[in-house]
Amino acid sequence: MTDVIDSLVGIAPGSGLDAIRAQRSEARKHAQASYASLFEPKDVAGVSTDERHAIAAFVTGLHGEPKTDAFYAARLPAALRSAVAAEVTAAKTKGPYGHFPKGPLSVEDAPGPSWKVSDGGRTALGPRLSAAFEHTHMLVFHPRDASAPSLQSLLDAGWSTNDIVTISQLVSFLSYQIRVVAGLGVLASTL
C-alpha cells in the first residue's frame, strides 16, 4: 500500500526526503500502520468505516491543509459531504485555547467557543456523529478544556468506552499526520 504521508508530501523514491525518512524507518512504517489500523482495520468494532471517514474529514477540514483535506474528503460518504462541509465552515477557529486548572496559570486562560453542531447538521449527521464532532472540535482547538463530562456526552450518544478510545486515537493521529505532511512539505520546498 502507498505510504500516505509520502504520497501527500510528494516524496519520490530516491529523493533527499526519502533518504531522511528512511533513517526513521520504524516511525515511517508505524505511522502508516496507524493509518491502516484506523481506516482499514481488521475489525471496525463499534465505529463504522463511514463514521471514521466522516470524523476524519471534519478534522482535516478544520485544519485546512488542502492536500490532506482532499485525501480524506474524497473518502467521505457522499450523503454526508455537504453536511460536513457546512459544519467545518461554522466550526473553524484558531487554537489552541482553553483554561488551565485554577491557580497561577489562570492568567494564561484563553477563552473560546464550546462549539455545537447546527440543528441542520444534527439532522444530517445523527446523534452519534454530532456528539463525536463536538468532541472532535474540542480535541482539535482546545484540548486542555477536556473533562469527564465531555466523555459522558459521547457515552450518552451511544458510543462505548472502546469506541471513544478509537475516536480519540483517530482525531489525535490525524493531528500528527496533518502536521508531518505540512512540515515535510515546507522542508521539501526548500531543498
Binding site: G16, I20, R21, R24, S25, E26, K29, H30, A31, A33, S34, S37, P41, K42, L62, H63, G64, E65, T93, K94, G95, P96, G98, F100, P101, G103, P104, L105, M138, L139, F141, P143, A146, A148, P149, L151, Q152, L155, D156, G158, W159, S160, T161, N162, V165, T166, S168, Q169, S172, S175, Y176, R179, V180, A182, G183, L184, V186, L187, S189, T190
Partner: protein, 202 residues
C-alpha cells in the same frame, strides 16, 4: 445510551503549574482489567511493564492503533542515528505540550530535556514562562518551529526552516523536529482528554 460510565478519580491534588516533578495520571474511562487482556492486548503495549499503567491499559482497548502509536513514538524519540540530538527532540515535545497545556506530558519531556541537555534552568524557564521564554537562539528557533506547527492555523514556513538551518540543524534534524512536535500533538490530545494529572503523594 451506552452502559459504560465515566470514572470519578479518587481524591487527589491536581498540579496547577507546569513542573518537572513526577506526576500520576488518573483515567476518566475504565482501563482494561489485566485479567481480561489477551496476548494481542499485551503485545500492543510493546513494553510488558506498561501493563501497570492505566493510560496504556485504556489505550489497549484498540490494540492495533496503540502498538503502531508506540512504535512510531519510540523511533521518533529514541532512534540515536543522526538527526536532532535527543535533548532537542525532547525540547520540541516539551514546548508543544506547554503550548497545548498538557501538564502531564510537559513534566515527562521537560525532565528528559533537562537530563539530556543538562540545561535545567532553561527547561524550567520554558515551563514557568511559556513558549516565549528567553533561551538561546538555537533553542528559541526549535521552540518557535514547534509552536508554528502546533498552533492553528499552522504558520510553519520557510522562514522557520531557514532559522533552524542558521543555528546548525541539517535536513535530518529538521525532519526530526517536525516528527517530535507533530507527535506531541497526538500524545497531548490523548493525555488531556482521557484523564487528569495528579501530584504524587509525598
Amino acid at each position: 445510551m451506552s452502559n459504560d460510565k465515566t470514572l470519578t478519580p479518587p481524591p487527589h491534588t491536581e498540579p496547577v503549574v507546569f513542573t518537572r516533578d513526577m506526576l500520576d495520571w488518573l483515567p476518566w474511562l475504565e482501563p482494561m482489567a489485566e485479567a481480561d487482556m489477551t496476548e494481542h492486548h499485551i503485545k500492543s503495549l510493546v513494553d510488558a511493564a506498561r501493563v501497570k499503567s492505566p493510560y496504556f491499559r485504556l489505550l489497549a482497548r484498540d490494540p492495533d492503533v496503540l502498538e503502531a502509536r508506540t512504535r512510531t513514538d519510540k523511533d521518533i524519540f529514541y532512534n540515536p542515528e543522526a538527526g536532532l540530538p535527543r535533548a532537542e527532540r525532547e525540547l520540541a515535545a516539551a514546548a508543544t505540550s506547554r503550548l497545548n497545556g498538557c501538564i502531564y506530558c510537559a513534566s515527562v519531556h521537560a525532565r528528559f530535556a533537562a537530563t539530556y541537555s543538562k540545561r535545567v534552568d532553561d527547561v524550567q524557564r520554558l515551563l514557568d514562562e511559556g513558549v516565549g521564554a528567553r533561551l538561546d537562539e538555537r533553542w528559541e528557533a526549535i521552540v518557535a518551529a514547534s509552536v508554528a506547527l502546533t498552533a492553528l492555523p499552522m504558520t510553519f514556513g520557510k522562514e522557520h526552516v531557514e532559522r533552524l538551518r542558521a543555528v546548525g540543524l541539517d535536513d535530518a534534524a529538521i525532519a526530526d523536529l517536525i516528527g517530535a512536535a507533530s507527535f506531541f500533538n497526538w500524545a497531548n490530545r490523548l493525555m488531556l482528554s482521557l484523564g487528569v494529572p495528579a501530584t504524587q503523594p509525598k
